[in-house]
């Protein structure tokens, strides 16, 4: 039951899981607002805090200014496939991510509905149904990606080889940041 640190990673893995088991995989999003007064969680948290603070100062203190208590609400996405038992999770407490995450849910819903990805080329639906088409299309995408990456890598380098040029690019970027 892995928790992914980034939503991109969660999206990628979920997308693959849905492609593998589109009939059974489901996505559950849970939006929770934590009750600071009576929930079990907060009691546990307060105990933890009390322990931590008592080790530092030797006294019990109130749980007001701690980062743990400042988390009021969470938004958790879970992709679960009962057949394989796979459970992929991502959790955030940032409001800014909601729009992006629901966008991800929409793209995953397209995969669930057996629609082609919005980002990929539209030759897919014509070929779908043969079963052989998917790997060839994926291969094509990879090739395209590879060429674009190579193109972007080569731009600042010129005639140099790929590996050496990449290093130079990195150095230049670092200088720019300073």
């Amino acid at each position: 039951m892995p928790f992914y640190p980034s939503n991109a990673e969660w999206f990628e893995q979920s997308s693959m899981l849905i492609k593998a088991h589109p009939r059974t995989t489901r996505i559950t999003s849970k939006y929770t607002v934590i009750d600071p007064s009576s929930s079990n969680n907060s009691k546990r948290r307060q105990k933890k805090l009390a322990k931590r603070k008592s080790t530092v100062t030797g006294e019990n203190a109130t749980a007001t200014d701690d980062p743990l208590t400042s988390v009021v609400a969470t938004f958790r996405l879970t992709t679960y496939d009962p057949v394989s038992g796979t459970n992929l999770q991502y959790q955030t407490d940032k409001a800014a991510e909601v729009g992006r995450l629901v966008g991800c849910l929409g793209r995953l819903a397209r995969t669930m509905a057996a629609l082609p990805d919005a980002t990929t080329d539209f030759t897919l639906p014509a070929e779908s149904g043969t079963g052989i088409s998917t790997p060839t299309v994926e291969g094509g995408n990879e090739k395209k990606l590879g060429t674009t990456v190579a193109a972007t890598m080569e731009k600042p380098i010129g005639p140099n080889s790929g590996a050496g040029g990449g290093g130079a690019g990195g150095k230049k970027k670092k200088k720019g940041k300073k």
């Binding site: 009939r23 939006y31 929409g106």
Partner: protein, 150 residues
Amino acid sequence: MAKMVENHLSNDEFFAQLPKLFDANGEKGHGSIYLHQKRYIHSTDADTPSTTKQLDDPLWDTHPEHPLPIVIRAMNSKSDKWDGPNRPGVMDRKESKKVKISTMVQPDQLDVFYARYAEVCKMSMTALKKRDRKKRKQKKRKAGEGEKKG
């Protein structure tokens, strides 16, 4: 109550009900909202191939002949296991009811539906942390300069 789930709302009705579900949660000041999505499967399915065909092609469900609808379900977190005479806040829990709403989204409606869905979620999930704009802007500036020079 469980059978009520099968009566799907229309997409418009669903969007009318969903904010109410979030509002009820907000009034209480805490609690959870669950949102599910999965492929719609008929119980007597014309799309399901015969068993011999399934054996021939074990991955038959990965490439159906035509796109399938998606079921979206939303519910609150009313749970019976917490009901007891001595629990704090038990009146609150007894008064609230388990609410389940669901809708079926046709494949051609998915993009429109999710655009509205995102709006409703953004409006309703107000307890999440707001973005710290100052730090982001500084980071973006630095990154932008780095790219130009590189």
